[in-house]
């Protein structure tokens, strides 16, 4: 055991759910559909305590019920906790109705069948499926009528079964032919799916070797078996993603170990626990592996490591308490899907969680790490941190191709999301009525431009920043994503800082940075560095037809005539504000300019109002006075102050 090593990628949830430990008097049951743990004392007579699924006192249900003879084999609440199903005999299930949190013990419905019941599962608040040796039957429980009515049944001889509540799929092992048949059991519907391909018909799979789990939204049948040549254990992963949910053998996880194993799924990772070495192996079927005949063979993501040691704080009177180091991989452990660990002797139930930070140090290949983190629910922050390190303190010129690949991975997901959002925005015309607006969920880890800009901002003005930004821009361009304002500004300021005006010019002429007034004004604000920048800024303003800003720029530079010509062409003669231009012309202290501008507006007045005089609303009196005093010519031609 390498517990001492200190790096652990799997931990037990900090607050375990405590329950009465198994003893002579107490039996403990776990319902993996509701994630409830039942501590049954003396067959229920002295109390039943139900806890779960969250470690919170509010969810505790405790009650007493009569011991009606026969040890309890299985006990499960309906999803709404209103009906309790108890199996005490192999051919009967009792249904106890609840009023609030107390059972109505007088109204127990006992449902008896002629077959041997392997088990039952709640599929709805009032519907339960019984799996017996002759088949699957769905019943509706009618508490008012004290009746249980059969709704649907499927006849098939069953040796054992496994249930996955998330997918509503039961995997049946048939008596004849030992085949594994997945069955979709929903309200009033039972659908038999194509059977799992076990390669050889004679192969018999034991119940303990099979795990049902959901990985990346697909139901997976995980079968432990030993490799025929090496003798090492492997996990066959059959995914129900073929046509008609047909299971296909897609992956094989190479454990390279022998002994007893148990399997969990945590955050779409398959965790294989090995009891003998006290380690857990991580597999991610989305990562690449060796592909042989369409089957991907995976090695563990890193070498096996143990679960993080857990110190259980025992109730004690002293304030510091007593810490009990829990035995990991104990023989008292029972594992449930997807990530539940129960130590029946200790009376603890934990959820297994992924410690994502240590994994970053364990996966040295940054590209593989990116692929890994992009699939983890808590991967975004960690990935951003990794990226931040890559461009910052770990930066090396030789890492650029790696960065290029990482950007490509990130942007592939980003692009698909941008595409989806775009479709959602555009694909709702009036003629589509029936189709419901599909609410698309975002990718597990979505790293947008803004996230990247935040990272890049931390390395602003370093020598290599421009290179990285251009690389990122190239990657965005590859996936047809346009640069947004923040990124555009960042690129522009880096290019300006490095005096790469040539690149800047070409980026703008290719429209590879965002063309907006804000970006153009940002460029303008740097035009004191080099005239190339103001040219580029005005080009951009011209492209987006932001004539009013260009006019302002020109007026600011004292080019009143140029501004006036542009204003006339772009705004139209009647919309050119006279006061503004006269004021600017006045400020130049150039009589020629003032005269030209003034005469221009006089001619405009003549055209629009058929008089040389300015309309009052334009408030040009002071300029008329200035004109009169500067150019006192013939009195008869002098414009009147209106």
């Amino acid at each position: 055991m390498d517990n001492s090593n200190g790096i652990h990628y799997i931990e037990l949830s900090r607050n375990p759910i405590r329950f009465d430990a198994v003893s002579q008097l107490t039996n403990v049951f776990f319902d993996d559909s509701n994630k409830q743990i039942f501590a049954v004392r003396s067959g229920g007579a002295t109390g039943v305590v139900v806890k779960g699924p969250v470690p919170n006192e509010d969810t505790v249900i405790s009650f007493c019920m009569n011991d009606r003879g026969g040890a309890i084999r299985s006990i499960k609440f309906s999803p709404d906790n209103q009906i309790l199903a108890v199996q005490r005999k192999e051919n009967a299930v009792e249904f106890v109705c609840f009023q609030g949190e107390q059972p109505m013990l007088q109204d127990i419905i006992t449902h008896q069948v002629k077959t041997m019941i392997h088990g039952f599962v709640w599929i709805h608040n009032r519907e339960v499926a019984l799996i017996s040796n002759t088949g699957v039957e769905v019943y509706t429980v009618l508490p008012e009528k004290r009746q249980v009515r059969s709704v649907k049944s499927l006849s098939i001889s069953i040796k054992w079964f496994a249930w996955c509540c998330d997918a509503n799929v039961a995997l049946l092992c048939t008596t004849e032919g030992n085949s594994l048949v997945p069955v979709l059991v929903k309200q009033k519907v039972i659908t038999k799916l194509p059977k799992v391909d076990l390669a050889s018909p004679s192969r018999e799979v034991q119940e303990s070797k099979v795990t049902l789990g959901q990985v990346y939204g697909v139901l997976a049948v995980l079968i432990l078996q030993s490799n025929s040549s090496s003798g090492m254990m492997e996990v066959e992963v059959h995914l129900l993603n073929g046509p008609g949910l047909a299971p296909r053998k897609c992956h094989v996880l190479r454990l390279s170990l022998v002994g007893r194993f148990a399997i969990n799924t945590v955050d779409n990772l398959i965790v294989v626990h090995h009891q003998a070495t006290g380690t857990s192996l991580l597999f991610d079927i989305s990562l690449t592996g060796e592909v042989i005949q369409d089957i991907t063979y995976h090695a563990p993501i890193t070498t096996g490591r143990s679960i993080k040691p857990f110190g259980l704080k025992l109730p004690s009177l002293s304030p510091d308490g007593q810490i009990l180091q829990c035995e990991l991989y104990s023989t008292h452990w029972v594992l449930f899907q997807p990530n539940i660990v129960i130590d029946a002797k200790l009376g603890c139930m934990w959820y297994l969680n992924l410690c994502i930070d240590p994994i970053c140090n364990l996966i040295s290949d940054r590209i593989r790490l990116t692929e890994f983190l992009l699939q983890r629910s808590s991967g975004k922050q960690v990935l951003l941190k990794v990226l931040g390190q890559l461009v910052d303190d770990q930066y090396k010129g030789t890492l650029l191709p790696v960065l290029e690949t990482i950007f490509s991975r990130i942007n592939k997901i980003y692009a698909s999301w941008v595409q989806l959002e775009l479709q959602n925005q555009t694909a709702q015309p009036s003629n589509v009525k029936t189709s419901t607006v599909k609410h698309t969920s975002p990718p597990i880890v979505l790293i947008e431009q803004l996230d990247m800009v935040q990272i890049f901002q931390r390395i602003a003005r370093r020598p290599h920043t421009e290179t990285i930004l251009m690389l990122y821009l190239q990657s965005l361009n590859k996936f047809n994503i346009a640069a947004q304002e923040e990124l555009s500004k960042m690129i522009i300021s880096e290019l300006i800082h490095n005096h790469s005006f040539d690149t800047l010019r070409r980026l703008v002429s290719y429209s590879m940075v965002l063309e907006s007034k804000a970006v153009a004004c940002f460029l303008l604000s740097h035009s004191d560095v080099d005239t190339a920048i103001s040219q580029v800024a005005i080009d951009m303003l011209g492209k987006i037809q932001a004539h009013e800003i260009i006019i302002e720029v020109m007026l600011g530079q004292g080019k009143v005539i140029d501004a006036l010509r542009l204003a006339k062409n772009s705004l139209g003669l009647d919309k050119v504000p006279a006061r503004k231009f006269l004021e600017a012309a006045h400020k130049t202290n150039d009589d020629l300019i003032f005269h030209s501008v003034f005469r221009f507006f006089q001619m405009r007045n003549l055209k629009l109002y058929e008089t040389l005089a300015f309309p009052k609303a334009e408030q040009c009196t002071e300029f008329i006075q200035h004109y009169n005093s500067t150019f006192p010519v013939d009195n008869s031609l002098k414009p009147q102050i209106s």
């Binding site: 010129g397 040539d502 005005i538």
Partner: protein, 482 residues
Amino acid sequence: MTKLLQRLEVTLRSFYVFNSSFGEKEGEEHKKVLYYHPNDIELNTKIKDVGLSEAIIRFTGTFTTEDDCKALHTQKTTQLFHQPELGFWLVLVLNVPKEIRLKEGVEVADYRGGEISDRIYRAVLRQCYQMYRFQHGALASLGAGLENADQRRELLSEKLLQFFDTYLISLKDLAHCDIIDMLHSIQYLPLDRALFLRAHNFGMLCATFPVIKESIMLYNEQIVCGGKMGASDLYSLHAYIVQNVLPMDSNDSSANTPVIKRSISECQAKGFVRCHPSDASEGQDEVLPLTVYLSVENQVTPHYLLIYRALQITLCLFLDAKQPAPKQELYDELHAYIAPQLTCLARDIASEVSKEALAHPGQDSSSGGGPASNDTTPKYLFINEQSLQHHTNIHRNGIPRNVMSVIADLANPGERSNVAAAAATEELQVKTTNDYWIVKRCCNWRQYYVILCNSKATLLDVTQEAKRIFEQELTDDVFFDK
């Protein structure tokens, strides 16, 4: 009656470099002359010419605050002066075009000094210096370690002799120098976004190999990405590549370039263009790469230039020459890294370029090509002052000299002297004596010229026609005030 017998175009009369401080004592005047072309004339003549130039510079210096004597026109010659470094003067003396006419039975020479545009030839002169500096560094810096001024002078003379003797021969026919030569403009290859980014980001080679300070990529004669190199260095590099590297493709036999007395051998169809000192023994395994001088932050610093060819792409890599020369391992490593990527990029660019050529069969981007259009079709010339890029259909020699001179005089100077004022917006129309109209527009650091030839055109016609051409041809840049 006069009859034109013969016309002699402008020719190079002499070219010399001098520095007065090398021969201040009497009797040592010859030391001032660092280089004189043609060499085979009497030393006394050389000294006299230099002395005359010195005198003119001194004389004009009394009227101006700086030493900005630029040109001297005499009946038969035009002298152009250029002082690139303090004390060092380059003088270009041209024979003005001459027309020999028969006037009443007597041959009379008619000198047409007015046809010479100072600005065009000053640009040629400036480029002489730039090319020298690009290959050999600043004049003043040579032999800086040597105490003895005489030794430095001799060393410098030797270098100048070595460089200019070949450079002046390769200099293009002076009669055909035009506005394009004056502008020192750089032609960029238009590419689509993705390819441009790919080509640009190929420059991250510099990050992978930190010894590489800069990389410049050319496709045929056009620049794909120029990096952060200054415009004048880029132009010199371009001129060097076009003159010395690209021709090797056409004559692949042992090419002896006249400029550097080295035989340049290519490894294979592609790879590094390596220079071997022709006189060095074969056993010498370390070959010094070509050294060029770039101005970085106003200082001229030497760099090793490695030239790598892959299909039509020429990749120029600059290494700091203060470091030891690159070893064979670096070449091998670079080759292994560059070869697959660059070949792929070159192929993609080639297919893009051919696609473009198919889409616009009429537009031939290269300057020389295209069928000779007749003189009456309107010509245009667009220049971006900032990037020194031009777009034109002016077929060389298609326009009379006087029109070219007018444009040269109209053109805003390439030197960035009046940065703020250059942004002015203006429109000018010029009519020449031989019925050419030149319309110049200037806006947002761009200059636009339209040249029309129509004797009957009115001012209105010309305005209309110019407007039409501006709108038709001006697609790449935004001219907001059409």
